[in-house]
């Protein structure tokens, strides 16, 4: 195996993966937030303006990205709770379970949202 393949493999453990998911989801959510706020403030221009936006957003591609964002949000929540359980409560042995719960929970929330939105 090459050096980079080995380096990647060395990072394949629960807490590191949780860190990466936490960071990537945080970055994506930060990028999305201004757009989210802008969209909602369409309501300042009246109900029709907000509806115009919602109609535009009513297509499979946008809906799929929404599912992605919902998964990012719940992933960020789950991974964040892992960090706090570790830092504040010292739950070092529980880490693997926390990662699994964060991941599993996000898949469940994402699936429910997916089923509702389509």
């Amino acid at each position: 195996m090459t050096h980079s393949a080995n380096a990647l493999k060395a990072r394949r453990h629960g807490a590191y993966i949780a860190f990466v998911l936490h960071r990537v989801s945080g970055l994506l959510l930060s990028a999305f937030l201004p757009l989210h706020f802008l969209a909602l403030s369409q309501a300042l221009n009246g109900e029709a303006a907000l509806d115009a936006f919602l109609n535009w957003a009513d297509n499979p591609l946008v809906k799929l990205s929404e599912v992605g964002l919902v998964v990012m949000l719940s992933l960020h929540l789950g991974c964040g709770l892992r960090v706090m359980a570790l830092e504040a409560l010292g739950w070092t042995v529980w880490q693997k379970n926390m990662v699994a719960i964060a991941f599993g929970g996000s898949v469940v929330v994402g699936t429910i949202f997916l089923l509702q939105v389509f």
């Binding site: 945080g26 970055l27 909602l40 929540l77």
Partner: protein, 111 residues
């Protein structure tokens, strides 16, 4: 960054994280209920317009985000882009942007 400041940043991010944890759970549930049968402006506004409870909820949500997100982005800018002072400035500016846009949106769906 001085000893106190790094500690305050860490604490501020954790305290807002606790607030956000509660807000996000409410938000996720609300979204899943709201998207059932499609999303319309009338439906959203019927829930939020004139509702002091939702106004307060979304205000707390926005304030917590304004504190929480820039601290994380500052870390990303420092660690992956190797920004130093620039990371502080960018984080504050992004926080202000979120503050303005966030409250515009909150006011938009309330008024």
């Amino acid at each position: 960054m001085s000893p106190q400041h790094s500690a305050y940043l860490w604490l501020a991010q954790r305290v807002t994280a606790l607030v956000l944890a509660a807000c996000v759970i409410v938000h996720l549930i609300t979204m899943i209920i709201a998207v059932q049968g499609g999303l319309t402006a009338g439906e959203i506004l019927a829930r939020t317009q004139g509702s002091i409870a939702w106004l307060l909820f979304y205000s707390v949500f926005v304030v917590a985000i304004v504190v929480h997100a820039p601290i994380g982005l500052r870390n990303i800018a420092r660690e992956h882009l190797r920004w130093a002072k620039g990371a502080d400035i960018a984080a504050v500016l992004f926080g202000l942007l979120l503050l303005v846009l966030g409250f515009r949106a909150v006011w938009g769906v309330f008024s």
